[in-house]
């Protein structure tokens, strides 16, 4: 076997795979944040908690009702997305006339409530969610062994990201959405129900987070804190990418996942902070973010 810079290829590809997996979640979550931010102008701090809810609802469906993973992929985003719609209608919609920081503070409070409730009910030790039978096992790719489920997560998140991009950039509904992002008053004057669009957009963003949670459930143990630290990294991803572009959010997410994986190979101690270091560099060089527009 050849070696790359003294690193055995199995280790290198293994970490690259792990990086791609993390990148899939960064991409899905920062995509949801970007979609919500685009129209609502708030940063959804409860995004991590909603991702955690996604994993928990999938676990509950399996444990209490026996509904399997594949149905969970469909049901969970709908259920959690619906809870997002309720939150937007009852609370967030009251803040649009205020400074955007209040939206951040409100969703931070919601995140605390959600996490606290789940911690009370299920503790912090984590609950196992087994990989669906169809995706257990793995494939030997010649240069490395790929667990099937991990391959599936990457494929699924690429497909979902692409579908979201397509829906926003290439369809009529997406055109309304982009127009409303630019100028909600004008779009409303054309007879489009902008408040409803805002509500559904928030629901959709939350559903994306929940979907990421279902995908994550078999990989990481399902526990109430799983979203809390992740969301801070995703914030850094969002700052690096800038929230101006959907494609930018996706590319930054995957790219930073890979960079993190590579760091784990070459300088393991730095892997926890590498994204923050990149954020610092980006702030110095291109403060608006790699794909961002200066406001």
């Amino acid at each position: 076997m050849f070696e790359l810079l003294g690193i055995p290829p199995q280790a290198l590809f293994g970490q690259l795979l792990l990086g791609l997996i993390n990148g899939s979640f960064y991409a899905l979550l920062s995509l949801g944040l970007a979609v919500i931010f685009g129209l609502l102008n708030i940063i959804n701090f409860s995004h991590g908690a909603q991702y955690m809810m996604g994993a928990f609802v999938a676990w509950m469906l399996l444990t209490y009702t026996g509904i399997n993973y594949w149905w969970a992929l469909l049901i969970v985003p709908l259920v959690v997305g619906a809870s997002g719609v309720v939150i937007e209608r009852l609370m967030i919609s009251r803040l649009y006339h205020l400074d955007h920081l209040y939206g951040l503070l409100l969703t931070f409070g919601l995140a605390l409530i959600i996490q606290g409730l789940f911690r009370n009910q299920y503790g912090v030790s984590g609950l196992p969610y087994s990989i669906p039978a169809e995706l257990s096992g793995g494939t030997n790719l010649g240069f490395m062994f790929l667990p099937n489920y991990r391959g599936w997560v990457i494929v699924a998140s690429v497909v979902v990201c692409f579908a979201t991009w397509f829906a926003i950039e290439k369809t009529r509904l997406g055109a309304y959405l982009r127009a409303a992002t630019e100028n909600p008053t004008l779009v409303g004057a054309f007879g489009i129900n902008v408040p409803r669009m805002i509500t559904l957009t928030y629901g959709f963003g939350v559903a994306l987070a929940a979907l990421a949670g279902v995908l994550a459930a078999p990989i990481y143990s399902v526990n109430p804190n799983m979203g809390a630290d992740l969301i801070i990294v995703v914030f850094a991803v969002v700052v690096i990418g800038g929230m101006g572009s959907i494609l930018g959010a996706i590319l930054t997410g995957f790219g930073l996942g890979i960079v993190e994986g590579l760091t784990r190979v070459f300088y393991p101690e730095g892997s926890a902070v590498v994204i923050f270091v990149i954020m610092a560099i980006v702030l110095l060089v291109k403060p608006a973010g790699l794909f961002g527009r200066t406001q």
Partner: protein, 326 residues
Amino acid sequence: MTTQSETGYRSEAAALPIGTPRHHMVIFAVLFGLLLVAPSVLYPVFLMKVLCFALFASALNLLLGFGGLLSFGHAAFFGSSSYVAAYAAKAWGFNPEFAILLGVLAAAVLGLGIGALAIRRQGIYFAMVTLAFAQMVFFFALQAPFTGGEDGIQAVPRGRLFGLIDLSSDLTLYFVVLAIVFGALLLIYRIIHSPFGQVLKAIRDNEPRSVSLGYKVNRYKLAVFVMSAALAGLAGATKAIVFQLASLTDVYWTMSGEVVLMTLLGGMGTVFGPLIGAAVIVTMQNYFAGFGAWVTVLQGAIFVVSVLLFREGIVGVLAKWLKKPL
């Protein structure tokens, strides 16, 4: 959604007039008098905790309420200063006053670094950047060899103030902490009412106008960020000496959230709000300590209620009611 600028938070409470209203001095004097006799009624360690967090929240309020900059990463300064002071007191045997000073210095330097980067973005990006950097500091504290990892730095000696006064008695320490915190609060008050503070408020209310008037806005923002970081560091270092402990809790994002909550609940942009907010939250934590994660739920609920119904905060509402800035 709105035409409002992204550049910061505008206080809904009555704006402070130029000059020093006499009733503020009266309130400060009464507060000081009450705190002098408070240890005869309340447990000194509890009071010291309230004082430390009151200072921490006031430091954040200097930045948020008067500078219009929401830092979601102030635990980085509180915590790192707490670690530095604890390490200096324990490993190097520093007197408490030097340990605290070193902690403050560390927080100020860290504030200079993070602040210089964070002020390059505005509004919610600023909040996210500070939060992310604070998380970086957290990972550093988790992995660095001298922080004790999960255990933190325990059994920090309280030592002798100026090498003379033994601080092992809670009551003696209480009066020292009272002096430190009160001195710092008066300093914050002075900063708010100085010409510098007036410029700061101008930037908060209308940044483009301040730029057009020729103010170097970024210098002011960085200066107030460093001051706020140093004062948060003072709170953290004092806390480390009081509790003889520096731990990961001090530097975790939940701590940053808590101090934002104290400021919000008490009243952003008011002088006395953060003190009230800190007292309420610390008292609540004390009473609900046995209820596990319900404290988190309750804090989240207070956040939600404050944002939806109560944006002026306790003192802000009082100020409106009394028609006097507090």
